[in-house]
Amino acid sequence: MAKIYDLLVKDVRFREGLTACMNCGICTASCPAAEFYDYDPRKICNLVQSKDEEKIVALLKSDTIWYCGQCMSCKTRCPRGNAPALVISVLRKLSQELGYFTESEKGRQQYAINRTIGENIVNIGYCVTVEKIVPKMHPEQGPVWDWYYQNAEEVVDRLGGNYMKEGPGALRIIPKESIDEIQKIFEVTGGTKLSNTIEHFSEDKANELEIPFNSAIEGNDYFNHVFTENSNQHQK
């Protein structure tokens, strides 16, 4: 197997994201995740630039890389022009490709995201729509959302939308032609492959953990497990 580090360097975002780090910690200082998680972008950059295979593998299997919120504040401030958040994206990509992501609680969540956002994108051409924000799964959306959710078409259309109908406007149905092209693009560019990879490793993990797993979301215990599991061990 190729050296992990070489795999990282293959990705332009990695080359863009990390030249020599001087360990000043400015990224961590401006990082929202560092404040609430046992997370330190500086340490990650330092670890990665150490090229220590063993350590990098451990990192890919850890919760650590999944804490980042991708706000990119680190990129703005780094005095060496690095972008730790980009490095994270590449680490995550690798963790998924190598199936390491299922080793950590936060990593396993990729399954849930893939089953929601991932499927939305290729099936309806939206990341989210009203009907996908099910109040049960989004208690914080509050009563106004419940009202909105129940009267979606009435409200959306009053607000100039075109709720799940042909033609332009907010929340219209995205034409089949577009959907087909999206799906083709996903196949050609590895999007589908990644999705399947996540699916595949997650199923293995589910079996390993002996948690029932099925292709639907409803009544899929593994989905609920990764969607809600929180060890609360994410702060030191």
């Binding site: 001087m22 000043c24 400015i26 401006s30 401030r77």
Partner: protein, 341 residues
Amino acid sequence: MSGKKIIIIGGGPAGLEAASHLARQNYQVTILEKESETGGHIKNDMTLFPDFADAQEVRKGLSDRANHPNIELKTGICINELVQEGNQWRIKSDNNEAITGDAVLLATGFEPFDARRKEELGYGIYNNIITSVDFETKLKEGKILTTEGNIPQRIAFLNCVGSRDEKTGNNYCSRVCCVNGVKLAISFKELYPAAEAYFFYIDMRMNGQQYEELYRTSQEKYGVTYIRGRISEAAATFDHKIQLKSEDTLAGLPLKLTVDMLVLLVGIESSKSTRLLAGQNNIRGNYGFAESLGVNRNDYQTTKEGLFLAGTCKRPLSFQETIADAGAAAIQIMDYLEKVK
């Protein structure tokens, strides 16, 4: 012996020191200073590191030595052209006065980094965020007070402002900010022993005699708290304090601190006139500093015969280094003038 004439551009420490050496060897020296007074940046200083020597006393010593029959001093004169004609050098000033000489010493010094270029640090936008230069001025006035007129109970010094920073285009280390910052922190604690002083740094580069000791004294005797980490942003709080965010990279944890005053230890940049004159003579090096034949080959001569360099027009130097540098440059000039007939 010789009536050879040397023009020194810049009446700062380097210029004055070189001039006094040359004058004593019976060379005719003309010092051109853009400001109304000589002394350069130490005019603004209260003390000099690492021994807290009285800056104004030192400055007086310099100008006294440069007060010599062979030295002609022209102040308030701004150069906008420097050209070589044969083995003569001609200088045109903004009032079109032309001055010629056999050799020219570029001693055009440096400019402190303009802290406004680090937006996230809020200099000029929020009250009570000042630079080391402002701080030194306040020291000279004898008191450090917040805009609200109070004694700061908590002060923070931030190192490497405009140095070691790709975002400002300055990848180099300004070399003096560390020790100067320590000096300022000590001076502050001398004034207000009860107040707390914090010092944010990446590395403490105590690369000079007595520097490291000064650093240690500031910890042991004055209780300055050093935090290894770079401040990512400064913001004013509702009660007119400054909120700072950094990582304590030694603890590996993000750190928040609210202070009454933030001092930015600004780095050293090439001065406008250095950039201009070095540019005109194709000796403009990195970051707009003037380029010698090489730090190891000959750090005083340039590719232009008769055009010499001294002091911080070349790169960041401490005061004492500048003085030594100027002396060496003077000798090189004499050698040169001996050779050319």
